[in-house]
């Protein structure tokens, strides 16, 4: 090979080398990972901030909705330890919920529920630690008493209202919890073709009155709304007390493939409801009774509801701690909008309207908004800290944006792993947020936990928000599927540990072993039973096939954590009775033969001996 030949070869090979260098350009990781950025705080600092030593107690309770598990999960913060599960809409053998007569009756025919938005009771806009409310899609709302962390009442399915998503936001003094429809349907419910959706289908906003003493819920009124999908809500407070705000999408009134058809308009609405005015109108006898409920049509009774235009398909609406601003987040855009409540009132007074929807005035957007804050892509929900700090979750960006009320400046962004939905700050939706902890409730967790197969847990990430930059402290994983959660200072809740004997007024309760036994009234048989370490008395009883049997079990313990169970084999019965509690279960003795019952909840050294027989002749 001559010199020229060599030159040609060397030039050609130079090209190949260049090509190989260029081929290294597709990075194997996204830029943020390559730079090693992210909200990692120093691991040792994070560990110290979240470590709650054995025997020590957490600072906060977090009540996390369980989504379609129909439950509420209770966490301790900052340890993020799962402390207990409160069954609400779903039978839960672990606590015997849905097996005894009372809870079975409360659940009715439904054995699942989709629980989304817990709402702690409030006094003057602050959590008071009395009750916890939570909505459910099958038109229901429930009350949990925080004295014993038990579900006490399930209201519904209420008439006219279908798909109770925009719920259960309470007003600042727990006057009302709210319900609103994600699915419109004919009111009253009847068969009407979907082609008449825009005119014949209706949305419903309902006020659920809460008894200030007992917490008992009753359906007070409903408002007939255009067939939009009502999504989330928040009650006005302080400056805006007396108002309720609900986001809505599908103001296109579309049907079919909603992901397209309901995403056509650039703005949808936040419905502002003057609930005190609604209360007054009802007191004056306005409204029509539909399916047993007083329903007000805003077309006939003006001045109750106004529509605030808000960026594309808004999801969350959150009122600032001082009540001055209403933050609405259009989930299909890159900004969140701050509406000024005073301007809303002025616009209403001046009739500054741009149109109407089924007789409900639409306020002029430019007249009521203070700012569009460029928080990032897919803004969903906003929580608050101290000093006017606001935190908005960004689904598409998979991050939380920190920004300031008033100056509207975005100062920090914390990546979330991954695809954050709701977020919850410590007392972050009250009039006085604590500004220390923030939990991102993420939809995806892939790769951040031991692989447990296709049914992946959700992730809840704890952030420290005491400093200028948000810092990730801890990854916790939860069962499906937390939507909203609320975080309350632990010292606001004072749960009992046993039911005091003197409070047990159950008609079938017995406290003395000699009062136990079987009484028969025709085909009805009552078995009064006592559970105490380590015997279920009577230790056997005889009945006849076909009898209607009620077993009433009283746990006469008054010692903390001395729970007893009553599991009856082959009869699908499992009660768990807390100390001082009486529970009943009623069933028809269909199968004859001998059936064992025993204590299912471990109690003592002789727990295994705590058993007896039901003999069905």
């Amino acid at each position: 090979m001559n010199r020229q030949n060599r030159q040609a070869w060397s030039r050609a090979s130079a090209l190949v080398v260049l090509a190989l260098i260029a081929s290294q350009c597709t990075p194997s990781q996204p830029a943020a990972r390559r730079a090693g950025s992210g909200v990692q705080s120093d691991a040792a600092v994070a560990a110290q901030k979240t470590y709650v030593a054995p025997g020590d107690l957490d600072e906060y309770y977090m009540f996390s909705s369980g989504g379609h598990s129909g439950q509420i999960y209770v966490y301790g913060l900052p340890s993020m330890r799962h402390l207990s599960t409160i069954p609400v809409y779903t039978p839960y053998p672990a606590t015997g919920y849905g097996f005894d007569d009372d809870s079975k009756k409360m659940l009715g025919d439904l054995t699942w529920g989709d629980a989304h938005h817990p709402a702690l009771s409030e006094t003057k806009g602050d959590y008071d630690g009395r009750w916890l409310f939570i909505n459910e899609m099958n038109g229901r709302i429930a009350r949990i008493d925080l004295r014993d962390f038990k579900t006490k009442q399930i209201l519904g399915p209420v008439p006219n209202l279908h798909g109770n998503h925009a719920s259960s936001f309470v007003t600042p003094n727990t006057e009302y919890a709210m319900m609103a429809t994600r699915f419109s349907r004919p009111v009253p419910n009847r068969v009407v073709g979907i082609d008449k959706y825009a005119t014949e289908y209706k949305g419903i906003i309902a006020g659920v009155k809460i008894d200030p003493q007992s917490g008992h819920m009753s359906l007070a009124w409903q408002i007939l709304m255009p067939p939009f999908d009502y999504d989330l809500g928040d009650a006005g407070k302080l400056a805006s007390d007396g108002w309720m705000f609900f986001t809505s999408y599908n103001t296109e009134r579309a049907t079919g493939k909603l992901e397209v058809t309901a995403s056509q308009r650039d703005q949808d609405y936040i419905a502002a409801v003057d609930w005190r005015a609604v209360e007054k109108a009802i007191a004056e006898g306005k409204g029509d009774v539909i399916d047993g409920v007083k329903v007000i049509d805003p077309k006939k009774v003006p001045g109750l509801v106004y529509l605030m235009p808000c960026g594309k398909s808004p999801h969350g609406v959150d009122v600032s701690p001082d009540g001055k601003w209403i933050i609405g987040s259009g989930k299909l855009q890159g900004v969140t909008t701050a509406f000024n409540f005073e301007k809303v009132q002025t616009a209403i007074r001046n009739k500054d309207f741009t149109g109407e929807e089924d007789g409900i005035p639409v306020l002029k957007y430019e007249s009521i908004k203070d700012a569009e804050v460029a928080v990032g892509l897919g803004p969903l929900h906003t929580q608050f800290g101290t000093d006017g700090w606001a935190y908005t979750s960004l689904f598409i960006d998979s991050a939380i944006a920190k920004w300031k009320l008033g100056t509207w400046e975005v100062v920090d962004k914390a990546p979330m792993s991954y695809s954050i939905g709701h977020l919850a700050a410590a007392e972050g939706d009250t009039v006085s947020p604590d500004g220390n902890y923030l939990v991102g409730l993420n939809k995806l967790s892939h790769g951040r936990h031991l692989n447990v197969g296709p049914s992946q847990p959700e992730s809840s990430q704890l952030l420290d928000i005491t400093e200028e930059k948000m810092k990730l402290l801890y990854d916790a994983f939860t069962e499906p599927e937390p939507h909203y959660a609320q975080i309350i200072k632990a010292d606001k809740i004072h749960p009992i540990e046993v039911y005091p004997r003197e409070e047990n007024k159950h008609p079938m309760a017995v406290w003395d072993l000699k009062d136990t036994g079987v009484t028969r009234n025709g085909k009805k048989v009552l078995v009064k039973m006592i559970a105490v370490r380590s015997t279920l008395t009577p230790t056997s009883f005889e009945i006849t096939a076909g009898d209607e049997v009620t077993v009433a079990v009283t746990n006469i313990e008054q010692t903390t954590d001395e729970l007893h169970g009553f599991g009856l084999l082959d009869y699908n019965i499992n009660l768990v009775i807390d100390p001082g509690e009486t529970k009943t279960v009623t069933f028809i003795a269909k199968k004859s033969g001998v059936f064992a019952y025993y204590c299912t909840n471990f109690c003592s050294a002789l727990h295994q001996e705590m058993q007896g027989y039901m003999i069905v002749k």
């Binding site: 350009c25 597709t26 990781q29």
Partner: protein, 217 residues
């Protein structure tokens, strides 16, 4: 003057290709065959939710998604929110003619290698450069159309955009990277070999002015 140049050019064009150059052409054919087995281009997209990235390899005759093809499906699911058309083989007419053209060009290169004269080599080089340039333009135009023909009814309205052809770019929550892959480098290699063969033949051309008739010897 002009005529002299043309005469010289013609004389050169009529020369046979030298033996080393012929081996280079054979190597070019091997590279061309190799392009069937490697992707031409790669698009990789990262988002916070996709830290492992979604990968798309473009071959001369098909699209291949990363993660056993799942990545293409995922990309299409995501793109449907902004109203982008599906990335499917059917919408790439290139996949029908490109393998054929590569094969045809391969045969032409082979022909030059076996009994070629410089003119045949020049022809096939020109054709190949044209093919490469056209393919690049076609690819760019395809990207442009994908980024611009967005459904007006899409749930999320985004400004029409030009996806990157070479390099990285941030599009919404995605970091998108687009770079050539081995088959493209093989194509570049083919062009380099063709040109090298040409240059080599030029350097090795007989220096003395010989009678035209003798050139064919």
């Amino acid at each position: 003057m002009m005529q002299a140049f043309l005469q010289r050019a013609n004389r050169f064009l009529d020369l046979p290709i030298g033996l080393p150059a012929r081996f280079m052409l054979l190597a070019a054919v091997v590279l061309l065959v190799a392009t069937y087995f490697f992707p031409l281009w790669n698009l990789t997209m990262f988002a916070p939710q996709y830290p492992e990235g979604l990968r798309l390899d473009i071959y001369s005759y098909t699209l291949v998604g990363g993660n056993n093809g799942q990545d293409v499906k995922e990309i299409n699911v995501l793109n449907h929110y902004i109203g982008m058309q599906d990335l499917v083989n059917e919408s790439f007419t290139e996949f029908q003619w490109m393998p054929f053209v590569i094969g045809a060009l391969g045969l032409l290169v082979l022909r030059s290698a076996v009994h070629g004269t410089v003119v045949a080599l020049v022809d096939v080089t020109m054709l190949f450069v044209y093919f490469g340039a056209f393919s690049l333009w076609s690819f760019g135009y395809k990207l442009y159309r994908y980024g611009h023909d967005l459904s007006p009814e899409a749930a999320v309205q985004v400004q029409p955009f030009m996806p990157p052809m070479f390099g990285g770019q941030q599009i919404a929550n995605f970091e998108v990277y687009s770079y050539p892959r081995p088959a493209t480098y093989a194509m570049v290699g083919v062009i380099a070999l063709l040109l090298a063969a040409l240059i080599l033949t030029w350097w090795q051309r007989p220096r003395r002015e010989l009678p035209v008739a003798a050139d064919r010897g």
